[in-house]
Amino acid sequence: MNNSEKSSKTKDYLQTKRNNENFKRSNEILYLFYSADKLSWPCISKIGVQKCLYFSEILSPLKEIILSFLNFIYLHRGPYSKDVQNILDYLVSLNAIEVVSFTSIRENSYVDYKITPEGKSLVENLILYPVEQEKLGWIEIVMKLVDAYKGCYDLSEEYKGADRIIDLVYQEPSFKEIKKKNVKWELIPVGDKNNLTMKLIWFLKEAEQSLPPTFNRERYKLDLETILLSFFEYLYVEHLSQKQGNGHK
C-alpha cells in the first residue's frame, strides 16, 4: 500500500469514527427527548437541551457512564455546544424529533422540539443494547432532577420550563470557575474526573466521613440519587445566596 492509499484509508477511518461519534451523540440527545416525554414535558427548547445535556455529561463520571462528550464552551447563556444544533437538525431530518414552535427575535432563534412516535420507536430499539439502556437510565435520572428543580421559587421568570434551570447551571462549579475568568469560548472540562464539579461530588459521596463522632455517620450516608439531589440543592442554595449577595465566591 503506497502512502497516498494509506492516507486515504486513515481519512476514511477518521471520518467513520467521527460519524460513529455523531451517531452516539444523536442517540444520547434522543434519550433526552425520550425522558422529557416520559416526564410529560410538552417540549424542550434549544437552550433546555444544551443545559440538560451539560448536566448529564458533567456529572457522568459519578456513574462511570461513557457518554460521547460534546465540547462545551463558556458563552453568555452558560455552557454551550455548537454541535448540539447540528445534531438537532439531523434528528429533525430523521423525523425522530419535530419542531413544535419557532420564533426569531433579532439574531436569535428560539426553537422548541419534541420527540416523534418514530423517535420513540428508535429509542425502544436502541435500548435493547444494555450499554444504551444504561445511558438512557442515567439521562433519565438527571432529567428527573431537572424536572424536580425547574419549578423552584425564585428562579428566573424570564424563562419557562426546563430553561429555568439556567440559574442552577450558572452555579455549577466547573462552569462558574471559567466564568470567573471571563474568557468567552473557553472549553469547560466536561468528563474530567478531577474537575471542580466532580470534587464536589466526591466530597458528597463520603460526606458522612467528614462529620464529627457526635453524629451518627451511618445515618448521613448518601446513595447515588441523594448525592445528585444534594448537588442540585447546593446549586439552588448557591443561587439563592447569591441573590442575597452572599454566594460562595
Binding site: F203, A207, P212, S230, E233, Y234, V237
Partner: protein, 358 residues
C-alpha cells in the same frame, strides 16, 4: 480518630454538610421509604405555591390543609391539582374544603382522594395521621407549616413567606459560637414583635398559655436551624446515656463544638400556675446537669422568656453548682404586652412628670 475536616477553598463544605444533615427532604427519606426525587419535586412546587402563588389576603385562615403524600401507585386521580393555583384557589374560595381539608396527593400535586369528611386544624392530629398511615404529612395553616414522616416531626416553619432554604448564607447567618447573638436576633425579629408566636392566652391580663415553653421552643429552633451556618440544630436531643432531652442542641461540623440551650418561661399561665424565681432556678440546675452529663458539650445557656407582671431581676440561688461550661449570663427577655400607643402614653406621662419636677 475521625477524619480531619477537609479544608477546601474551592467549595463551601459547611454549606454542603448543612444540606446533607439538615435538608428536610433528606431527613424525611431517612425516616420513610419514599423516592427522594419525587419528594423534592413535590416540596419545590409546594414551596413555590406557598411563597408566590397563594393570595393569603383573600383566603386567609381558610388556607388550612393537611396533605398526605401518596406513592402514586395504582391511584385514581381526581381532576384537581393543587399546583394549578388558579383552579385550587377558586375551589378554596368556593368553600370546597371548608368541611374536609385532608387531601391525599401524589408527588405531581394531583389530588387522589379526600379523606372522609374531616376538618383537622391541629398539627398533633397531623402527626397522628402520619404515624397511622406511615406516610409523609404536611400540615399547613395559613403561613405555618409542619412536616411529619411516619409521625416524626421533620421540619417546622412558623412563617413560610419569611423562611429561607436550609444552607443559604444571608447577612443574618452566623457561626454557632455566636448563638447568643442569634437568640437576641430572634427575640428582636419575632418574639418582641409577636411575629409568628402566640404565647399570650390573655394579653391584657398578662396570662400566658399553658405549658408556655412550647410556644417559644419551636420558633427558636427554626430560627437557629435557618441561620446557624456551620452546624446542625437539633430539638429534643438526648443527653448521652440518659433519658434527658435538651430543648435545643447545636452540633458544629468542623470545630466539633456542642452548644446546649434550655428554655424556660416565667409568669402566670391560663391554667393558674405561677412560674417565677423557683422555675428559673430549676432551669439553671437543669442546664448545668445537661452540661455536666454531656461530655462533648462546649457551652450552654438558659433562655428565659419573662411574662411576669414586672420587669424584675431573678433572685438566683447562689448555691447552685454550675459547670464551667455554663455561660454565666442567662438571657432574660421581658415580654411586652402593651400596645405601642399605651406604651407611648405612659412614657410621655413620665416625661411630663420629670419636666414638672424640674
Amino acid at each position: 480518630m475521625w477524619n480531619i475536616y477537609p479544608k477546601n477553598k474551592e467549595m463551601d463544605t459547611n454549606k454542603l454538610i448543612k444540606i446533607v444533615t439538615s435538608n428536610p427532604i433528606l431527613e424525611a427519606c431517612r425516616e420513610i421509604d419514599v423516592n427522594p426525587t419525587d419528594l423534592i419535586k413535590f416540596y419545590n412546587n409546594l414551596d413555590r405555591l406557598l411563597k408566590k402563588d397563594i393570595p393569603y389576603g383573600e383566603i386567609g385562615e381558610r388556607f388550612t390543609f393537611l396533605l398526605v403524600l401518596t406513592k402514586g401507585e395504582k391511584e385514581i386521580e381526581t381532576e384537581l391539582n393543587i399546583f394549578e393555583t388558579n383552579v385550587f384557589v377558586e375551589e378554596i374560595k368556593k368553600g370546597l374544603f371548608d368541611k374536609s381539608n385532608v387531601l391525599f396527593v401524589n408527588s405531581n400535586g394531583m389530588v387522589v382522594t379526600k379523606f372522609g369528611d374531616q376538618f383537622l386544624n391541629d398539627y398533633v392530629q397531623a402527626a397522628k395521621l402520619s404515624q397511622e398511615h406511615g406516610k409523609i404529612v404536611l400540615f399547613i395553616q395559613y403561613m405555618e407549616l409542619h412536616f411529619f414522616a411516619n409521625g416524626k416531626p421533620i421540619y417546622y416553619d412558623p412563617n413560610i413567606l419569611q423562611s429561607e432554604r436550609i444552607g443559604i448564607t444571608t447577612p443574618k447567618t452566623l457561626p454557632a459560637r455566636e448563638y447568643r447573638q442569634l437568640i437576641l436576633n430572634q427575640y428582636s425579629e419575632m418574639v418582641s414583635k409577636q411575629r409568628c408566636l402566640q404565647y399570650w392566652a390573655n394579653k391584657a391580663r398578662r396570662l400566658l398559655k399553658s405549658r408556655p415553653e412550647i410556644y417559644f421552643h419551636k420558633p427558636l429552633w427554626w430560627y437557629l436551624n435557618e441561620y446557624v451556618v456551620d452546624g446542625k440544630v437539633d430539638s429534643g436531643a438526648s443527653i448521652s446515656g440518659t433519658e434527658d432531652r435538651t430543648d435545643i442542641r447545636i452540633l458544629t461540623f468542623e470545630s466539633r463544638e456542642v452548644y446546649i440551650i434550655e428554655i424556660k418561661c416565667l409568669g402566670r399561665t391560663e391554667s393558674g400556675t405561677y412560674l417565677s424565681d423557683d422555675w428559673a432556678n430549676q432551669g439553671l440546675i437543669q442546664i448545668n446537669l445537661y452540661l455536666k452529663g454531656e461530655s462533648d458539650s462546649t457551652r450552654g445557656t438558659l433562655v428565659l422568656y419573662d411574662g411576669r407582671e414586672k420587669d424584675e431581676d431573678i433572685a438566683w440561688c447562689t448555691k447552685i453548682d454550675c459547670s464551667p461550661k455554663y455561660d454565666n449570663d442567662p438571657m432574660r427577655f421581658y415580654l411586652e404586652s402593651e400596645s405601642a400607643s399605651v406604651k407611648s402614653k405612659k412614657i410621655y406621662g413620665n416625661l411630663k412628670k420629670r419636666l414638672r419636677s424640674g
